[in-house]
Amino acid sequence: MFGTAAALAIAYIYWNTSGLLERQLEGAIQAEITGLAEQYHAGGISQLTRAVAGRSRRESDELYLLTDRNGRYVAGNLTSVSPNLWNTVGQIEFVYGRPGRGGPKQRLALANVFRLLNGYRLIVGRDIEDRRRFQTVIWRAFLIGLGVVALFGIVGGIFVSRSLLARIEEVTATSRTIMSGDLTGRIPVSGADDEIDRLAENLNAMLDRIEQLMTGLQEVSDNIAHDLKTPLNRLRNRIEGSLRQGGGEAAYRDALEQTIEEADDLIKTFNALLSIARLEAGAVGKSMEDVEISQLIQDVAELYEPVAEERGVELKTRIASGITMRADRQLIGQALANLIDNAFKYGVSNRSTGGSKKAPSISIAAKKDADRVEISVADHGPGIPKNEGERVLERFVRLEESRTPPGSGLGLSLVAAVTRLHGGDVRLEGNKPGLRVVLSLPMNSGSGGNPAA
């Protein structure tokens, strides 16, 4: 393709150049003839003869020959001319001998042949040997150029396609190792910053994400193994123990009731896991509606009011009124309930950390901040150590200090999943002392399709 284009370009230049030279030459000969014709008209054959003789003496490419009606030499610098030259009239290309060092040389010439009225003949020409050589040089250069271009084209083409194929082969090889189960493989990036590099980078980013998800899945299944199998095992032990001990109806009843309780806890954990999985897959959220968030938060807070009173906890609410946003009412309610429940479990149970004799308190707040809604639940408990940070948002993560109160370790992960579904994020802040969990939700969430993506 490139070679063809180059050849065409060179050919164009060649034909143009040689055409231009030819036209120049013809123009010069024409001017010469016009000049000589004037001489002839003015002074007849004798003046023409003088003019031709005079011009012939000049050292140049110009060629002249004047002969009489018998073909005998009268004037000019052309001596040996083939006789059949005389039989033609008009433009002609011919070969003539020119004296030079080392004998006469055959040179190429272009000339116009005229017959004058009195039978005299005039040849006016130009030596075009140099031009011919020049043409040959150009022609050769053209051929060499074309050859080089073709060579480069072919070699380059082979090289590019070889390296391209090699790089595509790398992608294939990497995907093969990944398919065989090793997710750590990545496609090498050449650093050329070309399309293939961009493809490789994108594929690598995709692989990173997949690996991350797979690791997450692995962790979850490990945790399921632990957090579901442990209570299942406890359940089994209890039934087995009760069977072995015997002890009559009352003892059996007692054991069975405990068994039901444990089964219920298991069901709860299982339901929470399913909910989180569905939320993260973006399978929920069809029930998005315009929800009066202020009212919802007020209601949920009110639901816990008697609990707070019973436990001697002050439940403070600072809820900006009139906030409405697109949301899933049940999910937001659930998230808020989980946060308040956590605050009761971990934020107020350990009264010694509070220091003062003041009643422990939980603050529930909601405010509109530009185009976001910030819902927060804060307590004055021990808080979360800095280095544990976001880890508590993950599934089944329960900090060692909090292993004692009952819980599945799924509460905050459900909160995080609900928040993500609404296109928002969860912030964990210190409350000096204590913990403040902030849900920052965009007002227009849910209207923009699937926010889980």
């Binding site: 929920v284 639901l303 609990v307 309930a337 429940d341």
Partner: protein
Amino acid sequence: MRVLVIEDEAETAAYLKKALKESGHLVEHAADGETGLALAEGNAYDVMIVDRMLPKLDGLAVIETLREHDNRTPALILSALGEVDDRVKGLRAGGDDYLSKPYAFSELLARIEALARRSVPEEAETRYVVGDLVLDRLSHKVARAGQSIPLQPREYRLLEYLMKHAGQVVTRTMLLESVWGYHFDPQTNVIDVHISRLRAKIDKNFEKPLLHTIRGAGYTIRVGGS
């Protein structure tokens, strides 16, 4: 009361039949949607329990067909799908209540008894009376033994629901759904605390308690009994 159980899983069906009979109900059982539909069209039941996924005819389709034929037998949908979206679908198809598996039998029993009760027209009832406790639905006033009892709006609604189902067991989930409109688990024993507050207002200063806790099930409001 007469209960129709449409459930394809043999063991679940056998357990339901046995447990419902023990609770004093007449039970008929269909193992697939078509048989269930035929039974429901040909007989008068007080309530039916319909599994969502059934052979031959889907549970929702059974209910939809019945409703198209103007059969208003209250239906409780049982399903392994427990998300809010599925619940909405079930109720839209004409179901009256939705219970996701696994469930406690006490929950199921309380719900179908509440459903059967619902089929009796209630609009006419302007006041609920349990013993000497009176709830006036027009003036939203509550009095016991002629003594007015001031209640918070939420407490009033809680009592109203309990009295509407007087003599029946009402579970915590039913209260959470009906009185608060929540379909999620609030973790802490919030309902118990609300009930004990209400109890303090309507029972504390009176000799005979009306609001009873049914262990492992929920609450009931009635005169006498444990």
